[in-house]
Amino acid sequence: MNFKSQLGHQGDTQWFGVDKIPTDAKKVEKQFIAASERTGNVHALSGNYDMYEVAGGHVIECHETCVLNHTSNESLKNNWDKAVELPVRDHRSSEVAKGIYFVGIQQRFDPLAGHKKRVID
């Protein structure tokens, strides 16, 4: 999997254009990309896409333009397959064009431990 571009970010979720879906990617059901541990709000994609699990994050193949929302769990119900903008919690919604993307979470560094850990949003 080759990274082609740094596409965009919504909060601590970061999106990158890639050339293909890795052969070892495991297809999964649509699920939120990240959940805020403090508020319970979620970053989730709505629309026509397939989602795969890979090391470090997910690969998403958007078959058409999809909408990346930051919203509540409740708003997501019945809205996974429709490219709609849902009620905004903190971060603005964004359109994600047709293509293949890697999405992961911004990493945090702990200077007391000397290594990385996930951002707590």
Partner: protein
């Protein structure tokens, strides 16, 4: 060799089914939730502690002791000295000796224990008294405890594991009657420490509140302590004991940078850092540590969004910090950015190895993203 019956069959990890595994949190919660929240302390009845100790003594073929219950750490220390310190326990010793001569029923002992406990509380032993203040180093003993697996703060853990294994795997146990009884009584008994003798036992109750995080005992939200007794606080941050002065000064708003610099214990220094960060965020910490700007860049992203990003470091180096290359004795470092959606200013801890803010920002991209990929957002920045 005879066939093993189902009952005597040795259980293995294969018998730990997903259903049994799913019930482990329930067992753990029974052990800890009410203890940590303070409900156990609030609902405690002295007679439950007495009943438990009587049962323990019975298991040892001993008659019921006088059970004295201390509600706080300072009470335990005071009672310990009144009861067991030969320099000052003359009056108490006479009380107990005269009573325990001859056979007494459990009820007589329990009733006398209440009377003696009241007497212990009223004895003229006030640590504020000038005599004791002047002489306490020579007169007062540090309290001691006896470690017995079924009368300590961990007893509930051992007994819960026993009960879990026995009941969930349906195993026979020749001591089931005794251990089941102890399990049924241990939470209400709420015993943290004991000092046991033939005729008398001193018990310290479990704390009135406990705060933990994933690492260990931890409370940075107030000065009440990670372990609390009424009027008493034991401070811990990420499982490490912290001196009282750190919390007293911080919450009393008198903590100075010089306090931090002059502290020689690195764990205490790390605790101070965590205390400030947990309450004031990285902004507060930077202000406290007097950080300086190392690098600044205005990025014009390909999507037209313009942002200013910065790299800060403290002027001082700290031996307990490491950069991402494993070097210690480095400064604190942060990248600064503003969320385009919310306007929130973020200071994200970064490695002190960077002197260039762009290198630091690339470092924080998700795992797997190559460093060679240019740091510029092409589409959305929210």
């Amino acid at each position: 060799m005879s066939e093993q019956t189902e009952q005597t069959q040795i259980k293995t990890l294969d018998d730990l089914t997903p259903e049994i595994k799913a019930r482990i949190p329930m067992w753990k919660d029974k052990c800890t939730v009410d203890l940590y929240s303070g409900k156990e302390y609030a609902e405690h009845k002295r007679e439950d502690t007495v009943a438990y100790m009587n049962y323990v003594y019975k298991l040892c073929n001993r008659t019921a002791p006088l059970v004295i219950v201390a509600n706080t750490l300072s009470e335990y220390r005071r009672y310990f000295n009144i009861i067991f310190n030969e320099k000052i326990n003359g009056e108490f010793d006479k009380l107990v000796t005269s009573f325990m001569d001859g056979t007494k029923s459990d009820e007589q002992v329990a009733e006398k224990a209440l009377e003696i406990e009241a007497r212990v509380k009223s004895l003229a032993f006030n640590e504020e008294d000038s005599f004791f203040k002047e002489n306490k180093e020579t007169i007062l003993d540090s309290p001691r405890y006896h470690w017995i697996s079924i009368t300590s703060e961990y007893s509930r853990v051992y007994l819960t594991w026993y009960k879990f294994i026995k009941d969930e795997f349906n195993l026979p146990c020749s001591k089931a009657e005794e251990l089941d009884t102890l399990y049924d009584m241990v939470f209400k008994a709420s015993i943290a420490k004991v000092f046991v003798c033939e005729s008398i036992t001193l018990v310290l109750r479990m704390p009135s509140r406990i705060h933990r995080n994933d690492i260990g005992l931890h409370n940075t939200q107030d000065a009440l302590g990670a372990i609390q007794y009424p009027g008493e606080a034991l401070h811990y941050i990420n499982g490490r004991k912290m001196p009282d002065w750190v919390f007293e000064k911080y919450f009393g708003k008198t903590l100075q940078f010089s306090d931090f610099v002059n502290e020689t214990d690195e764990d205490v220094k790390a605790g101070i850092i965590t205390l400030i960060k947990d309450n004031e965020g990285n902004q507060g910490l930077m202000k406290f540590l007097n950080a300086k700007l190392i690098d600044e860049k205005v990025i014009e992203h390909k999507n037209g969004h313009k942002e200013t990003v910065k790299l800060y470091k403290t002027k001082e180096k700290y031996s307990m910090l490491q950069d991402h290359n494993g070097n210690s004795n480095v400064p604190y470092a942060w990248t600064y950015m503003v969320c385009p959606s919310t306007g929130t200013e973020y200071l994200i801890d970064t490695s002190a190895a960077f002197d260039n803010v762009m290198d630091a920002l690339k470092f924080h991209r998700p795992e797997g993203v190559p460093l060679s990929l240019e740091y510029t957002w092409q589409s959305f920045t929210n």
